[in-house]
């Protein structure tokens, strides 16, 4: 008698139902859709927006296949790609009347065509990797040294202001390599400065440990030099360096998010990888040049003073043009042509910026960018303008490490309130671009693309087809052979193998693991290897029959004895899968995930499920004469 307890049969049925449910969405395919999301923190996606979009589509006479809303976006499905494109234009025009100041991002997307109840139980189609759907993949390396020098620059600027405020006279403060060096004429001032730094920077500690031993000092101060040239050398502690770097990667990730959101890409992936890397995946984007441009733009703003004495001195200017500007100055060409010398010292940076909007100058009606500063920035700006009335300041836009003086106006009066306007020789488009870049935030450290992959959409579709054809081809061949060789038991094995495939696809869909072409290859390979368990079982049953067991006993013994072998062989294979999962790169991981899942599902389907089927077919028959497992050749009989 071969019967399963009820719970085991129920388990098999439940597993099959589960497998079917979660595999189902993959058969519905995808339909073109338009996705609308807000790009402003103040504007929320709500029902009103949904109604508005429906209204827009109705007036434009475009038929949709359903409008859906979730917390972050509204999605509209369409029947065909050209209606999708038409709808995108219509929605874009209606929602963003001023293209220079977009409130919503309107992006093309593909949505699962499966019914809502399936989506409701989180049954989604498998998540296709970029090599199957097309798109761009970037791996960016954050320059960690750059993050630290940037931080040191800012600290140097703070210290400079602090020393001036306390009237401590130094003969120069600058960042030299990975340290800030302050020069003094006498030891008295040096000591005063050191105390002042420790007082104002709570986390600073002197090298001698004389005063202000904070628990975790950020700044380490060392004294040096002799005679007339005394120095204080300030470095960042290791803990602080690490913190600065962590923050830099986080801030860069955030900035990339903002930039990509402003450009409206459906379902972008922006993730930190390892300590200092960021992965960006933009499905559906084909224009790498543009994507790279967006990612690589590192616009930030700097406010510095113009060195007017030197800028009006022709001989100094001549030397500066040739690349030898006076110490402490940098040579820039103002937009519109005039060269001028700008002090290296940064008065205010773009970090103090809370908003940037394109607009027009009230008086001249020139295109302009309106900036809003935070309270600290507003205070600095007020002091700066009060102390420098009549002088010129320069507003620099730093992009990809290169600076450009956008404008260098003369300060007419003190400006309070933190509202600043940059205007001067900009087109409307330039004003909009500048505002976007400034708003999207600056990068805390420079980044470099160290890996890039672009896959065209046709190649993606081709890859799916190739992977699918390989799997179907191999499966058919195995199925035909197994049924011919093992007859009914072969059929059971093939059914178990199909169930294995079903479970695997269902699990991949449920986990939303990224399916890549190596992943499809792993599905095929998993099926090819999963049949091993059934071959082991079938061969063992034949052997038992050959040895003279009754059919029912042969089934029991065959399954039981094959089990230990199946377990051992699958565990060793699983060890390989896990090693690949841990140490593989992204491409190999796509293979490894499927490999591991496939091994797990194959144990269940080839042992538990196939046994349930065999029990169902043979289990209740008391007088079973023979099993349909193909010819069982007995050497004893034919030999004699």
């Amino acid at each position: 008698m071969n019967r399963y307890p009820l719970w085991k049969n129920i388990l098999v049925v439940v597993a099959l139902v589960f497998g079917l449910l979660y595999t189902l969405p993959n058969f519905f395919g995808e339909v073109p859709a338009v996705q609308v999301a807000s790009v402003k923190a103040t504007v929320k996606v709500d029902l009103q927006l949904m109604e508005r979009i429906e209204g827009v589509l109705k007036t434009a006479g475009i038929a949709d296949n359903g409008v859906f809303a979730d917390a972050n976006s509204v999605r509209v499905r369409f029947g065909a790609t050209d209606t999708q494109l038409k709808a995108k234009d219509a929605i874009e025009k209606a929602l963003n009347p001023d293209p220079t100041d977009a409130t919503y991002s309107v992006a093309l997307n593909l949505l699962s065509a499966s019914p809502a109840w399936l989506t409701g139980i989180h049954a989604l189609p498998m998540y296709l990797g970029l090599d199957l759907r097309g798109g761009v993949h970037f791996l960016l390396q954050v320059d960690m040294k750059g993050a630290i020098t940037k931080r040191l620059d800012a600290t140097a600027s703070d210290l400079r202001a602090m020393l001036r405020e306390k009237d401590i006279r130094h003969t120069g403060i600058a960042r030299e390599g990975m340290a800030i060096v302050i020069h003094f004429h006498d030891a008295d001032t040096q000591a005063k400065a050191r105390d002042a730094i420790i007082d104002t920077q709570p986390a600073a500690v002197a090298g001698g440990g004389a005063k202000g031993l904070a628990a975790q000092p950020d700044l380490i101060i060392a004294e040096g030099g002799d005679g007339n040239d005394l120095r204080l050398t300030i470095t960042l502690s290791e803990a602080a360096q690490r913190r600065v770097q962590e923050m830099a990667v986080k801030q860069n990730t955030g900035t990339l998010h903002n930039r990509i959101n402003e450009l409206g890409v459906a379902e972008p992936i922006i993730q930190q990888q390892g300590i200092d890397r960021i992965v960006v995946e933009l499905p559906g984007v084909q224009d790498t040049a543009k994507a790279k441009d967006i990612l690589g733009r590192t616009a930030t703003l700097e406010l510095r003073m113009v060195d007017e004495d030197n800028s009006t001195n022709p001989s100094v200017m001549d030397a500066a043009v040739k690349g030898q500007p006076p110490v402490g100055d940098e040579y820039y060409v103002e937009r519109g042509g005039h060269g001028l010398l700008v002090r290296k010292q940064v008065m205010l940076t773009g970090e103090r910026l809370t908003d940037a909007q394109p607009g027009f100058d009230n008086q001249t009606h020139e295109p302009a960018v309106h900036l809003t500063l935070d309270s600290a920035g507003a205070r600095v700006f007020r002091d700066l303008t009060r102390d420098n009335v009549g002088k010129r300041m320069a507003i620099l836009l730093i992009e990809k490490g290169k600076g450009e003086v956008v404008t260098a106006p003369v300060i007419r009066s003190e400006i309070g309130g933190g509202r600043v306007q940059i205007s001067g020789r900009m087109t409307t488009q330039e004003a909009a671009d500048t505002a976007l870049l400034l708003r999207a935030g600056s990068l805390a450290a420079p980044m470099e693309i160290i890996e890039e992959r672009t896959i065209g959409p046709s190649l993606g579709a081709e890859n799916i087809k190739k992977g699918f054809d390989s799997t179907v081809g191999g499966f058919t061949a195995i199925a035909v052979f197994m049924m011919a060789y093992y007859l009914l038991f072969g059929l059971v094995s093939v059914l178990a193998l199909s169930a294995n495939m079903l479970f695997l696809v269902a699990l991949l869909s449920l986990l939303q693991a990224t399916l890549t072409l190596p992943g499809i290859a792993a599905i095929a390979l998993a099926l090819g290897m999963a049949i091993d368990s059934n071959v082991l079982i079938n061969e063992r049953i034949r052997e038992e029959l050959r040895g003279g067991s009754t059919p029912q006993a042969a089934i029991t013994a065959g399954y039981e004895r094959a089990w230990a072998t199946i377990l051992d062989s699958n565990v060793t294979t699983l060890i390989v899968g896990i090693a690949l999962l841990i140490f593989g790169s992204v491409a190999v991981r796509g293979f490894a995930v499927v490999h591991c899942l496939g091994i797990t599902t194959s144990i269940f389907s080839s042992v538990v499920l196939s046994r349930a089927l065999v029990n169902f077919i043979y289990g209740r028959r008391k007088k079973l004469a023979a099993l349909s497992i193909g010819q069982v050749w007995k050497p004893g009989i034919t030999a004699k």
Binding site: Q141, T288, K292, E448, I449, I450, E451, E452, R453, I455, L459, N463, K466, D469, S470, T471, G473, F475, A477, I478, Y485, L517, P518, A521, A524, L525, L527, G528, M529, D532, V535, L536, E539, R540, E543, A557, E560, R561, A562, W563, A564, T565, L567, D568, T572, T573, I575, I578, A579, I582, F583, S585, A587, V588, F591, H595, G630, W633, P635, T638
Partner: protein, 319 residues
């Protein structure tokens, strides 16, 4: 149908020395090819830029080469890929240029050819890998291999005996080296999917050895009065039909990948094919003699094992 009608145990062990010499020669040859020719690593390991461009009509590759050479791309490989209309271009890493921009520059250069107006290149895929990524991949791959080896040895040593663990791993690493030898000899491209395939083969052929070893253990326990070579012969003979059928089935799948999988899966499937063929050979004809020479005997299985898996019958029998 029944393919295997074997009356008596086949005396595999009588020829063990021959099998091992054959496999030693293959192994040494593989090492020689690996050290003289080296592997032809894909850009994923070496770094560089790879582009796949498709044309409406088959382009003249020589013209493309000359044009790219003229535009300052030295050491560029231009070759067709799949069909004559698909062109694969490889640009090695250059030291001082902005490497991430090379893809665009190559495309611009190709678009500037006189006949590009009628037969414009269309970009299908760009891959750019910086130098630091490639190095990491190589070290990660080596680490993965090491971890696999250690994991398998520990598992087999616990479940069986250290002699089995050692022979299985020697036999199967020898498969890996032979696959690599093939890739070195034919200068096939060694890419990440190939690496995955190589590691999968390692697991797969260990799996194979485990099936044979399981039988060896069972035979030692059940049949008394057999010498060690006889036990091994019996174990191999009684699993041979399963071995051939299983590998045949897996190979059907892999062959299907070779036929339908296109260029992207070609070398992956090829590595698996070689792996499967040598996997059978090594686990049956290399691992078992090694176990014998390492001195396996009945006494090692005399006491019942403590870690008996669920489902194992009282006599400790397994397939």
């Amino acid at each position: 149908m029944e393919f295997f009608r074997i009356r008596k145990d086949i005396p595999f062990m009588r020829h063990a020395l021959v099998f091992n010499i054959v496999s030693l020669i293959t192994f040494v040859l593989a090492i020689v090819f690996l050290s003289t020719k080296g592997l032809h690593f894909s850009i994923e390991f070496t770094g560089g830029t790879l582009m796949e461009v498709t044309y409406a009509q088959a382009p003249d590759l020589e013209k493309l080469r000359v044009k790219l050479e003229g535009d300052g791309f030295t050491d560029t490989q231009v070759q067709t890929f799949g069909t004559s209309r698909d062109v694969l271009i490889r640009v090695p890493l250059a030291k001082d240029t902005v490497t991430a921009k090379i893809g665009e520059r190559v495309l611009a250069s190709l678009a500037a050819l006189p006949d590009a107006a009628t037969n414009a290149p269309q970009l299908k895929r760009i891959e750019f890998v910086g130098p630091q990524v490639g190095k990491e991949l190589a070290s990660d791959g080596a680490l993965a291999l090491l971890l696999v080896v250690i994991g398998i040895v520990i598992y087999l040593a616990i479940r069986f005996e250290w002699r089995f663990a050692v022979s299985a791993i020697i036999a199967n690493l020898h498969d890996v080296v032979i696959i690599l030898g093939f890739f070195a000899f034919f200068q096939w491209e060694f890419s990440l999917p190939v690496l995955a395939a190589v590691l999968a083969v390692l697991g797969y052929s260990v799996n194979e050895s485990v099936v044979v070893f399981d039988r060896v253990r069972e035979t030692f326990k059940k049949k008394r009065g057999l010498t060690t070579p006889e036990v091994l012969n019996h174990a191999i003979t009684s699993t041979i039909s399963r071995t051939i059928i299983t590998h045949g089935c897996t190979q059907m799948m892999v062959t299907s990948m070779l036929i339908f999988g296109g260029a992207a899966l070609h070398f992956f499937a090829l590595a698996l094919t070689i792996g499967i063929c040598f996997g059978i050979y090594s686990s049956v004809l290399v691992a078992s003699p090694l176990v014998m020479w390492l001195g396996v005997s009945r006494e090692q299985f005399a006491q019942p094992k403590k870690e008996r898996p669920a489902g194992m019958t009282d006599d400790g029998a397994v397939v």
